[in-house]
């Protein structure tokens, strides 16, 4: 009873704070100065039709590097704690996978992989980008893990793809310092014609590496969890 009244008290306090915030809220009609600069000069400076991509990859590229690093750390920690000792899986009993899941996954997985690749290659033109495309690819591969529990996939390939794309991402950023105006600057390559696939300088290449990195990290988490199912 005391506990419940305490919870209600906390809720009333939160409601009071939020009510004060809501009472003083006036909508922002104009863009702030920084947002205005992005909206007006983004297409000329970066050459990306999707303005979100221009901000995420070029103006705030360092933040994206930080996000990818955090994801790498969490994937590494999951891999570290879910070490697999019983590798041969001989005493493992598997339930029968349903026919519907099996058939659907055979049709859906290639399409999902293709769609993921489409999303990150077209990140500078249409909504989406490396992170989203990588997550879609990882969803497709995890669907395959669910449908075919016996199919073995090596951690090694995933780790190699992940490492190479991570290192390439950072090296491209450093190349921006050497050949253009700053870290992760996309003007190493020419900006091209606005709105075509080969435009926006380095952004499509960076997004391919980000997509591969995110996809392999999330797939690695799913794979570690699957292999760890029968460990004590």
């Amino acid at each position: 009873m005391v506990k419940d009244s305490f919870i209600i008290l906390v809720l009333i306090g939160v409601a009071f704070i939020l009510a004060n915030l809501f009472a003083g809220f006036t909508g922002n009609i104009d863009l702030s100065a920084v947002a205005n600069h992005y909206a007006e000069n983004g297409p000329e400076e970066v050459g990306s039709a999707n303005l979100v991509t221009a901000v995420v990859v070029t103006y705030r590229g360092l933040d994206t590097l930080g996000e990818v690093t955090i994801l790498f750390l969490s994937a590494a920690i999951v891999g570290f704690f879910l070490k697999v000792e019983n590798k041969d899986h001989k005493n493992r009993e598997l339930k029968y996978t349903s026919e519907i899941l099996n058939t659907a996954s055979q049709i859906l997985v290639p399409i999902m992989l293709l769609f993921g690749a489409y999303v990150f290659i077209n990140g500078h033109l249409s909504p989406g980008g490396g992170f989203q495309g990588g997550a879609i690819i990882a969803s497709g591969l995890v669907l395959m893990f669910l449908a075919q529990p016996k199919k073995a996939i090596g951690h090694k390939l995933i780790n190699i793809v992940e490492s190479i794309s991570g290192v390439s991402f950072v090296l491209l950023g450093v190349a921006g310092i050497l050949f253009a105006s700053g870290f992760l600057d996309n003007k190493i390559l020419s900006l091209g014609r606005f709105g075509t696939l080969f435009s926006a300088g380095l952004i499509p290449i960076i997004y391919i590496f980000v997509g591969l990195k995110v996809g392999s990290e999330l797939t690695g988490i799913g794979l570690s969890l699957r292999e760890n199912q029968d460990e004590a």
Partner: protein
């Protein structure tokens, strides 16, 4: 106008599903409700003109994290039983 009505409806649906995810005794139902919260939240983001965020939410929130929760639930059940 239609967009606002749809957004309010989605918001109420998300709240109901979130309460269901917390209160339900069956963990499988809770996990599916949490995944559905993410799914409807991604539709809401799309209505609010944020397709980039909607894509991330749909792929990670309702796809991958639901499967990861099920893997973890399966592992916990094995260890207990």
């Amino acid at each position: 106008m239609l967009n606002i009505i749809l957004a309010i409806f989605l918001g109420i649906l998300i709240l109901v599903l979130a309460v269901m995810a917390v209160q339900n005794k069956n963990i499988v139902v809770s996990i599916i409700a949490a995944g559905a919260v993410s799914l409807f939240a991604s539709v809401l983001y799309l209505l609010l003109a944020a397709p980039d965020v909607a894509m991330t939410e749909a792929a990670i929130g309702s796809g991958l994290s639901t499967i990861i929760f099920f893997y973890v639930l399966n592992k916990i059940k094995r260890q207990d039983g």
